[in-house]
Subunit: 298 residues, 4 copies
Amino acid sequence: MHLGVIGLGRMGQIVVDRVLEAGHDVVAFDLEPEAVATAADAGAEPADSVPDLADELGEEKRIWLMVPAGEAVDATLEELEPHLDGDDVVVDGGNSYFEDSVRRAEACSAAYLDCGTSGGPAGAELGFSLMVGGPEWAYEELEPAFDAVATGPDGHERMGPAGSGHYVKMVHNGVEYALMQAYGEGFELLHEGRYDLDLESVASVWNNGAVIRSWLLELCEEAFREEGTDLGDVADRIEGGSTGTWTVQEALEQEVPLPLIYTSLAERFGSRADDGRFSRRLASRLRYGFGRHEVPRR
Amino acid sequence: MHLGVIGLGRMGQIVVDRVLEAGHDVVAFDLEPEAVATAADAGAEPADSVPDLADELGEEKRIWLMVPAGEAVDATLEELEPHLDGDDVVVDGGNSYFEDSVRRAEACSAAYLDCGTSGGPAGAELGFSLMVGGPEWAYEELEPAFDAVATGPDGHERMGPAGSGHYVKMVHNGVEYALMQAYGEGFELLHEGRYDLDLESVASVWNNGAVIRSWLLELCEEAFREEGTDLGDVADRIEGGSTGTWTVQEALEQEVPLPLIYTSLAERFGSRADDGRFSRRLASRLRYGFGRHEVPRR
Amino acid sequence: MHLGVIGLGRMGQIVVDRVLEAGHDVVAFDLEPEAVATAADAGAEPADSVPDLADELGEEKRIWLMVPAGEAVDATLEELEPHLDGDDVVVDGGNSYFEDSVRRAEACSAAYLDCGTSGGPAGAELGFSLMVGGPEWAYEELEPAFDAVATGPDGHERMGPAGSGHYVKMVHNGVEYALMQAYGEGFELLHEGRYDLDLESVASVWNNGAVIRSWLLELCEEAFREEGTDLGDVADRIEGGSTGTWTVQEALEQEVPLPLIYTSLAERFGSRADDGRFSRRLASRLRYGFGRHEVPRR
Amino acid sequence: MHLGVIGLGRMGQIVVDRVLEAGHDVVAFDLEPEAVATAADAGAEPADSVPDLADELGEEKRIWLMVPAGEAVDATLEELEPHLDGDDVVVDGGNSYFEDSVRRAEACSAAYLDCGTSGGPAGAELGFSLMVGGPEWAYEELEPAFDAVATGPDGHERMGPAGSGHYVKMVHNGVEYALMQAYGEGFELLHEGRYDLDLESVASVWNNGAVIRSWLLELCEEAFREEGTDLGDVADRIEGGSTGTWTVQEALEQEVPLPLIYTSLAERFGSRADDGRFSRRLASRLRYGFGRHEVPRR
C-alpha cells in the first residue's frame, strides 16, 4: 500500500520505519525539515507540505497522522480537508480526546479512524497495540498498515464506531496509572519494611512465573537495575495526568466508581503540591485546636 | 462523694477541678509533687503515694486514673491492687486500647470502668463526653463524678460491658480523623480554586446554620483567624495516629470497609515520609520506562 | 424593604415567611397558583405572573429566585429580563452550578447575586447559612433580606465576585458527602463490631461535648431514634450526587486531590449498581483464573 | 537429589511431578492415602507416615512441606522434629504468615526455608516463582529442587533471612489484589460506558503490545471468552482476603500508606455485606434529615 504519514516525531518515525519494513511505500511530512530528511533516509518519499503529500498519494488516499493531540490535529485536518473525499481514509494515531475524534469524524470528508496506540518506545521493535474506532471498511482498507505498525494481526482491532478507539485507549491509560501505583505501593512496603531487600531481585523473581508478572513489572526491574534499589535521585513528583483526568471525568458522567484510578491520579496531583497539602496542614492545626498537640511549623 | 484521682496532667487536673466544683471531696496523687501541689491549691487533699491515696479513701474506694495509656496504667494498677476489693471501683479515663481494658477488668480486684473521654481543653469549661464500659452498678456508683466531669447527665453514658467505653472512643477518634480530612479537602479546594476567598469568613458563615456546622468547623474558623487564610507556617505534617490505627486494625478483623478513615490515616503517614513517597518515585520512573518522559530528579 | 420572591416550593415559602416575619413586604409568584395562595395567606402580595411581580416592585427591584437549578432559572431570567435595569438586583438562592451563575451575571441587566443556601428544613426556624457572590453594593442592598433569611447577620457573607457564592456552596456539599460517609463508617464499625451497642445512645453522648459533635451527628441521633439502632428498612442506596460531581470535576481542573469526597461520591454510584459491581465480578472470576478458587454465581 | 514432599494437594502434586521430571528422587506423604498413590503413580516413593518419610531420606534430609498454612504446618513440624538435626533442611512452600515462619525457623532443629510460591495452576507447566527466606547454605542445598519447581534458575531467589520469603509473597498478594481491581475498574467503565464493546477483544488487543499487558490481563481475556463480555452469572462477591489483610496490617505497623491495596481489600469486604452497607444506609437516611429527600426503603 501507499501510506502518507504526517508528524515525524519519535512515534511517527517508528510508524514510517515499520510500514517501510513491511514492504509498503510511504510519503512523509513534518513541519521540521530535518524530520522529513530522516524519514527519507529510511526510504520514505519526502513531501514539502501537506498539499504536496496529498498530491503524491493520488486517489484513495490513506493518511496516518502522528501529531500532538489537540490543536495540531485540527490544524492538520484543516489543511488536508480540501484534498479529501469519501474514498480517502485518515487515521489519527495520537492520544486525542475521544470526543474530539467523534467531532472530527463528523467534520472530515474522508473516512476517519481514531487509533489509540500503546507500547511506548519498546514498540519500535515489538510493534504496538492499536485500538481503532471508525467505519469498518476503512479499518479493513488500512489493515496492511495496522499489521505493520502493530505487533502483528493480533495487535490491532476495531473497537467500534468513531471515538471508540481513543475511548478504549483513554481507559487503558487510566488502568496504567493504577497499575503503576499498585506496584509502587508493594515496593514501598518492601523498601520501608522489616527486611533489607534487593528490589531488582524481587522484581526479577516475580517476573519469572508469579501471578503479578507484567511488562510494567519488567520496567520496575529495569528501573531498580538502572537507579539502584532505593531509586537514587528520582524525585517524588509525577508529571502528566491528562488521560487519567479524562478517564475520571467520563466515569463521573457514567456514574462508575473508579477509586483506584482516581487515587492514582490524585497521588500525581499531591506529588506536585510544592507548598504542601493544605488539607493536611489544616488537619495538623486542628489537632492543636482540640488536643493542644504541638503544631509542626516550617 | 469522695474521689481519688491519680494522674494530674492537664486532663487529670480538669477532673479534679470539676469534681471539686460539684461539691465533692478529692484526694489526688501524681508522681510529680508539683502537680499534687496544684491540685491541693485547688482544694484537693494531697496524697504522697498510691497507697496513701488508697488509705485516705477507706472502704468503697472510687478512684479515677488519668495517666498516659499503656504501661503507666498497668504500673498504677499493680500498685493499687493490694488495696482493692470487690466493693471498690476504678475508672480509667485515658485513651487505653480497648483490649487492654478488657484484660485489666478481668485482672483487677475492684470493679473496673473504662471511660473514653472526649472534648479536649475546651472541656475544662464545658465538660466532657464520657463513654463508659463496665458493670452497671459501678457506673451508677460513679454517676456523681461523671455528672461533674461530663457536660452534665447527658454527657456520659454506659455503652456496655468491659472495654466498650474505650472501644467507642477508639471509633470516635477514627471518625475524627476523617472529619478533619474532609474539612481539609474542602478548604484546600477553596484555597487552590478559582476565587480569592477569606477562609475564616467561609468557616464562619458555615458555622451559622449550614448543614456541615460542627465544633471541628469552629476550630477551623479559629485556625484561620489565628494563622491567616493560608495557615501561615503550619507544616504539612500530621503527627499521631495510634487510635486511628487501632480503628483500622479492628475493622480489618471485623471485615468492615473504612475507606475514609483509612485514607485519613494514610495521609498522616504520607505527610511524614520525609524522603518522599517511594511509590510515587517509582511511578515517575516508570513513565520514563514506557514513554521516555523526563524523570524529575532531586 | 419590598422583596419579590419567585418560586414558592418548600424553600421559597420559607424565604417568604422569614422575610415577612422580619417586617418587610413581599410580592410572590409561582407557576402553581396554590403556592401563591399559600404565600398570600402568610401575608405576601400575590402576583399573577413574572411581569406582574416586576410591575408591583416598581423601580430598584429586589427579586429572590428560589426555582430549581438549571433550565427553570434561565427561563425565569428570560421572562424577567425586559423588566430589569442596572438599579435592580436579582438573587438566585438555588443550587445552581457556579459557571451558570457567572454566565447569568454577565447576561443579566440587573445586578446578579448567586446565593448558596444551606440548612435544610430546620432552617425554617433557625434561619439559613447564605454564601453570596456578586457586586458588593448589591449585597449590601439585600442585607435586610439576608438578615431575615439567614440565622441573622452572622449567617450570611459575601464570598467574592459572581459565582463565588455557588462555588462555596458546591464545596460545602462535597464536604457534606464526606462527613456523612465518615460518620457512616464509624457507626458501621460499631454496628458490626464486637459490642452490642445502642447507636442512638452513642450519638447522644457524642453530641454532648465530644470533639466530633455536629449538626449532622444530631441528625444521626435522630435517625437512630426514629428508625432503630439497625436503621430498620432503610435501603443501601444513596440518591443524588450532582453537587458532589461538580466538586470533583472542579478539583480535577484545579489538580486538587479530594480522596474522601471522591470516595463518598463513588459510594453513591456503587450503591446504585443494581446488577452488582462489574469490577468486583471480574476480580472474583480472576481468582479462579490464577488460583482455581470457586466462583460465587448468582 | 532426594526430596521428601509432605502434603500432596494440587500444589504438592505439582512439586512432586516437576522434581521427578527433573530427574530427582522423591519420597511423598499425605494424610490421604489416595494422594500418596497418585504421587507413587507419578514415580515417587510412597511413605506411610511422616516418620517413615524421614527414615527413607536418611541423613541430610531435604523436605518440602506443601500443607495448608496455619495449624497443619505446626502439626507436621512437630511430628518431624524428633527426626531433624542441623544438617537437615525443611522448606515451607505454603502461604504461611511470615511471623509464623520466623517463629518456626527459630524452633526447628533443621535449617528452615520459608518459600513463597506464586503462579497458580498454570505453574504446573511453566513452573513457579519462588521467593525464599532463610540461611544461604540451605537455599543453595535446595537449588536443584528450586530449579525444578520454579520456571528455571531465574524463577527462584533468596530474599533474605527467615521470614523474608513469605514476607515478599505476602506483599505480592497485596499487589495482586490491587492489580485485579485496577483492571476491573477499567473494564467496568468500558462495560457501563458509551460504546458497546467486546471486552475479550479489548483484552486481546491490549495483551498484544500495550503498556498494561500482563498475565492477569490474559486471565481477563480468558474470563471474557469463557463467561461472555458481561461475565454471565458471576456474582458480585469476592471471597478470600487473608494475605491482603496481613499486608495492610504490616503497612500500618510500618506506617506505609497503601491506599490502592487497602481499597481493593475493602471492596472484598463490601462485596460480602449481604445486608447492605450500614454506612451507606445511614448516609441515605441523613439526606432525609437535612434535605427531606425521600429515603429508599427495602
